[in-house]
Assembly symmetry: C2
Homo-oligomer: 266 residues x 2
């Protein structure tokens, strides 16, 4: 999906919601068996309950890898089920030397129908470039994350600013607004103004809303640009909104609340 | 495998060689079919040809993920085949918020018999800590990598030194010499002296020898401590030393050359 496709989906659904599909075994509704078929079916029900309320889905690979080869199949089947009307993100946080990053790019952006993969910037340009250059595919670089450990390195002073600002400044030259996005943690919403000084036009993937405490209103007020420019991710607060047989209804209600908060800004 | 086990293996085999098992489809000997069974068999032949010459094996997850669910099975079967006389590294370069890193830790260090996983430090303390605390399991943190992109962030001035030095200083407090190692690119061998000022006792995983151009002699001269303290990784120069039916013999000869360079220092 290209940039124009994302913008049109946001306008027509009046939503910039990204639903995180992280099937944590410990949080699945109690009545469901703990096996691959049940998890795949659970994911599909969550997808069907939220399709018209969101523009993107994000699968965090950790929750599939923990199930081994079977989990990889669940990931493939889940992302294949969504179709091409949503922007599909592999939240994999990969990054390695060039010939290895090229393998990750193939695994996620060619062998599977993901539109984008999240990438850690620590290894620099040649760890990121192999992910670029595939038409209509995207790299989402970790900029400023929502966890408390972001203070350890990302927020350390470097040059005129901080490491995370340098990451935005340097890596934005690796691609364009058509194939690069950034992860910016919503719990740092006051920093969004600074992000928009550096990157007025890029799309941002905003985690940390919901369970992690970020506010949709604060993010939208500080982060929107004229194309919206935001994908706001919510995982646990939607996926595990209900703990029983009503989990899909509860997920839809939760997604609807987030979409309602968004539509006034769109 | 604990620290003492690693040290004893190094002493008895007079080797600190780590063989990288990265079955790149484009580089496999031409006569082999491109399927899971053939790749697993290829890996097993490389393992049997090098067992007595090395103390560790490192599987880069990218080369397995590119094969999908089948590749995950090849990884499981490969690491299961090696047994418990070698230190087993999942070169996965993961790292995420706490509840997600915990899933990665389970996937690699509990569900599979890996002794260690490589982790990117960009997200800080709470992205790394979930990997620690499993008895006799290790985290190997990216310190200074061997690729040219290391200049983009790792080698940027930060405080009194550079980002990579700060990463070593800060993260060494997260664990101990019994459960933390660092990736230090061999192509930066002159920096090894500085590493040893910061971390005199820790084990270092040194990639970049062989195809990437690093020298065993330079690494050993600058990086050894009284326990050796090094695992020197070679992937392509061993695995793809021969391009035909003699690939296992060629791999053994290549591994033997590296082990010969090492034994004078051990």
């Amino acid at each position: 999906m290209n940039r124009q496709g994302i913008i049109e989906a946001i306008r027509s659904r009046k939503s910039c919601l990204c639903v995180g599909l992280d099937p944590d075994m410990a949080k699945l509704p109690g009545h469901l068996p703990r096996n691959a078929a049940a998890i795949t079916a659970f994911n599909k029900e969550i997808i069907d309950a939220t399709r018209d309320l969101c523009v993107a889905y994000k699968l965090n690979t950790a929750f599939y890898e923990v199930l081994g080869a079977t989990g990889w199949k669940v990931m493939e089947e889940t992302v294949g089920y969504i179709g091409n009307k949503h922007f599909l993100i592999a939240d994999a946080k990969r990054g390695d030397i060039g010939n290895t990053s090229a393998q990750y790019a193939k695994a996620f952006l060619e062998n599977m129908p993901f539109d984008a993969i999240t990438v850690s910037p620590y290894m620099g340009s040649d760890s990121i470039q192999p992910f670029l250059g595939i038409p209509e595919k995207w790299v989402i670089i970790l900029g400023l994350t929502s966890n408390k450990g972001s203070i350890d390195f990302q927020k350390q002073p470097l040059g005129d600013g901080h490491l995370w600002e340098r990451v935005l400044q340097t890596t934005s030259g690796y691609g364009s607004m058509e194939n690069l996005m950034y992860v910016i943690g919503a719990t740092q919403a006051t920093d969004l103004k600074r992000v928009r000084e550096i990157l007025p036009g890029h799309f941002l993937l905003i985690p940390g809303v919901g369970t992690q405490g970020g506010s949709v209103a604060e993010v939208m007020a500080n982060g929107c640009n004229r194309d919206c420019g935001l994908l706001i991710n919510v995982s646990r607060s939607i996926m595990f909104a209900g703990g029983g047989h009503d989990f899909a209804i509860a997920a839809r209600q939760a997604a609807s609340r987030f979409q309602n908060e968004m539509k006034d800004y769109l």
